[in-house]
Structure formats: structure tokens, C-alpha cells
């Protein structure tokens, strides 16, 4: 399947009177020999809907999600479904989750949701579950096996004993750089579920894993990190084509570890700096990642967006819909065996705004 982006942009441009929309599209393509077929889905993440008081919410973050939903609804051809990648709310309250769910309800497609830490640590995902269902699950779609994990769990002592109130626990986890936070993990119980879930899936079936945190270790200080990433990767490693799509980082990242491709999602709310730009971190980003452009804070939606995912021959192409920059596509390159930016991968092609410091 081929996305008709020009048609999409023309339609959306006309509909939105020239404004630009933040959505990410993902295209998955499959070898016909596997009985699969190409398809696309939209991928919206990290909206951080934040209540001020009563019926007042932070306008800036509301606008990001509204725009992503409006643009996803204009996609042609229509995506098969939408994934919301987690952190719908800022502090996990019913008011925030309800307000976010109301905006998501305008989507014209089936919706699959991933749990984020901002959705979870107030009531441990109870109200989120009432709205969106199980914390982790799997489903099959056109020859691809999708797995949704709740990757933002942490140590029991931190979750159940350390904080005097649920509100305090939520606030401590909500600060990205808060030293009182705790590393994310999938946990043994869910890893066991994953092993069982994959037990009867043929090794040649393409697997797409949806998690909120990166199932790889990038920078622990900001939880760009999953504590048991290696254990989860080991469960996925025997499969020939695996793609992990994650949110949380509010920036473009991609990587390849063995047979596993990793892609991150933009946020609809606000962008985050790359960990390598925090002078005291000593952290880096995956070396193959061509960074997104540095954000212009004066353009409220700059460096935010969404993506559509194109699934083709069991591998993924992530199309980043960026508001004040040119859109980007990061696709699996069969020749090099890794995801690559379709325009900027070769170092001489890079542009000054991609230099972060």
C-alpha cells in the first residue's frame, strides 16, 4: 500500500484552511508469500492532557491532541486503526482521562491504547482500564501479530509502600528528571505472559510490539529506559521481523538491535531535548538516529506531531507528520538491515537544525 501523502496534505490543507496537522502514520508491508498484506495505521502519543481546575485544561496540550485526531481522520487511504501510545493524561485523574477520551472518541477508526506512567500512577491504571480495557494484550491484523505491553511498571516497594498518598506517588513519577522516580520495567509476570502469547506464533510472522517506554536502554535519568529491556528483547529475538514502537521520549529515535527495529513517536504535547544535550548526563542517542529539528518554542506546535505507520513486507516505515518542519519518513532498509531516514540518513544530507547541543 502506498500512502498518497500529497492527496492527504491537499485534503487536510483545504479542510484546515492551511493549518498543518500533527499525526504519525505507520505503514507495515508484508511479503505476499506470508499471506500478509500491506496496511497502515496511525500512531498518536503523549498528549499529557492537564487539568487546571474544574472544566479548565491547558489549552496548548489540548490543541495538540485535537489536531492529531482531526488530521488522522483526514488520512487517505484510511488507516486500519489508530494506536494511542500512552500518557493521555498528565496526572492520571478521571477529569484528564475523560477529557482525553472525549477527544479520542472523534476518531473514525478502531483505537488501541497503550498505558503511560502519567495514566497509571494515581490509581494504578484502574480508571484507564474502565475507558480503554486491558493493560496488556495482543491481537492479529492482516498477518501481523501485535503485542501491547505495559512497560511503565516499577519495583513493588516504590509502587505500594514508599508514598503516603496516590497523589504524591503520581507527582513523583510525573517529573521526568525527578531523582525520586523509579526505573520502568515490564516485570516477570508480564514477560511470562509474553512468552506464552508468542509460544504458538510462527517465527516468520512479523511482530509489532507497542510499549510506552523504549524497550532499550538510552538514558536512565529520564526513564528513556526499561530496566528489563534485555530480557524482553531475548523473548523477541527468535522472531525474524520484530518492530518495537514506543512513545514517552517526545522525539524521533530509531535503532536496530539484532532482528528488532525500534522507532519512537513524537508527542502531540511538547518536544523533549535529546539526553545527549544534558551536559551532566553522559548519555547518547542511538547512533543511527538522525535527530528531529531543534524546536522553535515560539511556534507552539513545532517539534510535536503524530505518525502514520506503513507496514510493508513485515517491516515498518514510520511517517512523521511535523507541523513546522518538513515531514520525515524512517523506513526499514533491507539492504542495510536497519531503519533509515529516507532523506537525511547520509551525513552530508543533514541540515543545521538537526544539530543539538
Amino acid at each position: 500500500m502506498k500512502m498518497n501523502r500529497r492527496g492527504f496534505l491537499q485534503r487536510s490543507g483545504a479542510a484546515m484552511a492551511g493549518s498543518i496537522l500533527p499525526v504519525s502514520l505507520v505503514k507495515l508491508a508484508f511479503g505476499q508469500e506470508q499471506g500478509g498484506q500491506d496496511f497502515t495505521f496511525a500512531y498518536i502519543s503523549d498528549s499529557h492532557i492537564q487539568q487546571i481546575s474544574g472544566a479548565r485544561f491547558v489549552r496548548n496540550w489540548d490543541q495538540g491532541l485535537k489536531r492529531a485526531v482531526a488530521e488522522a481522520n483526514l488520512l487517505e487511504p484510511a488507516p486500519d486503526f489508530v494506536v494511542f501510545g500512552g500518557d493521555l493524561a498528565q496526572l492520571g485523574t478521571k477529569a484528564e482521562l475523560d477529557h482525553g477520551a472525549e477527544m479520542l472518541s472523534a476518531l473514525r477508526y478502531p483505537l488501541y491504547c497503550v498505558m503511560g506512567e502519567h495514566d497509571y500512577y494515581l490509581d494504578l491504571g484502574e480508571y484507564w482500564s474502565e475507558l480503554f480495557g486491558d493493560h496488556y494484550y495482543s491481537f492479529d491484523h492482516k498477518g501481523v501479530h501485535f503485542v501491547v505491553l505495559n512497560s511503565i511498571l516499577t519495583y513493588d516497594e516504590w509502587t505500594y509502600e514508599r508514598w503516603e498518598t496516590p497523589e504524591r506517588r503520581m507527582l513523583e513519577m510525573a517529573g521526568l528528571d525527578n531523582p525520586n522516580g523509579s526505573p520502568f520495567m515490564v516485570g516477570e509476570r508480564q514477560r511470562e505472559w509474553l512468552r506464552n502469547d508468542l509460544a504458538n506464533v510462527p517465527r516468520s510472522t512479523p511482530i509489532v510490539v507497542l510499549s510506552h517506554s523504549p524497550l532499550q536502554k538510552i538514558y536512565k535519568g529520564w526513564n528513556f529506559w526499561t530496566e528489563d529491556a534485555e530480557e524482553v528483547q531475548a523473548i523477541l529475538a527468535p522472531f525474524e521481523k520484530v518492530t518495537v514502537l514506543y512513545g514517552h521520549v517526545h522525539q524521533i529515535q530509531y535503532n536496530q538491535i539484532g532482528s528488532i527495529s525500534f522507532h519512537s513517536a513524537m508527542a502531540t504535547a511538547w518536544p523533549w531535548p535529546y539526553p545527549s544535550t544534558y551536559a551532566q548526563s553522559g548519555a547518547y542517542v542511538p547512533v543511527m538516529t538522525v535527530p528531529m529539528n531543534r524546536a522553535d518554542p515560539f511556534n507552539e506546535r513545532d517539534a510535536t506531531g503524530w505518525q502514520f505507520v506503513d507496514v510493508h513486507t513485515g517491516r515498518v516505515a514510520v511517517n512523521y507528520t511535523l507541523y513546522d518542519n518538513k515531514n520525515r519518513t524512517v523506513a526499514f532498509n533491507a539492504a542495510t538491515g536497519r531503519p533509515e531516514d529516507m532523506e537525511y540518513q547520509h551525513p552530508p544530507r543533514r541540515i543545521p537544525p538537526q544539530a543539538h547541543y
Partner: protein, 130 residues
């Protein structure tokens, strides 16, 4: 009388000489003063109290990253002129935080700038760099 006068003069002279010197204890005290102001800056950075909508500086700038204090003063393309760091801090307070400007000499502004600089320690000055 004369001896007393000379003695007083001697004490005064000693005081003048020693005013230019400082001790390890002084250094520790001054560093602690800076630390406490930078710590207050960190508290403000992660608190909603500078704005009116609950948004905090740290939401977009964990560890004050992506603020580039070493590049100021610099030409700020969005303002069309050379600007100082505190002007950009106030821009963020007014816009994403929907708050009111701080006076440049406000102790809270000093605390914010101290925190930003502390998180950026060790990075060479590059005034004017975009």
C-alpha cells in the same frame, strides 16, 4: 596616648590587609550560598507557581536542558534582536506558563538563572551561537 594611637592604626592596617584574603571556610560558605539559591531555582523550575495553568519549566526542559545559557547574549531570531537569557525565561513564563514577567533583578529570576547555569556547568561560553 601616642602609643595607643599607633596601636589602633596597627589594628586598622591589619584589617585592611586581611580584607583581601579569604579562607577555605569562606569559600565553603559562598559555595553553599550559591547552592541554596540554585536549589531554590530547581524548586521553582519544577513548580507550577511561576505560571497560572499548572505548567512548569521542567515539563519541557528536564534538568534545564535545551536552554543553552552559554550562548547568551545572542541574536534571538524570534525577537529580531540580541537578547539576554532572562528575557527568554520571561518569554516562557508568559507563554507556555501563562504567567507574569519577573523583574530581571527579582530573587526568583536569579535563582532560575543559577539553576540553569549549574546544570550547564563545564560547557564553554559561546556567546551569539544559535
Amino acid at each position: 596616648m601616642r602609643r595607643v594611637f599607633l596601636a589602633v592604626l596597627g589594628v586598622a592596617a591589619c584589617t585592611v590587609v586581611h580584607a583581601d584574603e579569604f579562607t577555605e571556610a569562606d569559600l565553603e560558605r559562598w559555595a553553599a550560598q550559591f547552592e541554596s539559591v540554585a536549589q531554590e531555582g530547581r524548586r521553582l523550575w519544577t513548580s507550577p507557581e511561576l505560571g497560572t495553568n499548572g505548567v512548569a519549566c521542567g515539563q519541557c526542559h528536564p534538568n534545564a536542558a535545551n536552554t543553552h545559557p552559554e550562548t547568551y547574549p545572542k541574536f534571538q531570531k524570534q525577537l529580531g534582536r540580541v537578547a539576554q537569557m532572562w528575557e527568554m525565561v520571561n518569554w516562557c513564563i508568559r507563554n507556555p506558563l501563562e504567567g507574569q514577567d519577573l523583574d530581571p533583578g527579582d530573587a526568583r529570576m536569579t535563582a532560575l538563572l543559577a539553576y540553569i547555569a549549574k546544570e550547564r556547568r563545564g560547557v564553554a561560553l559561546e556567546p551569539g551561537k544559535h
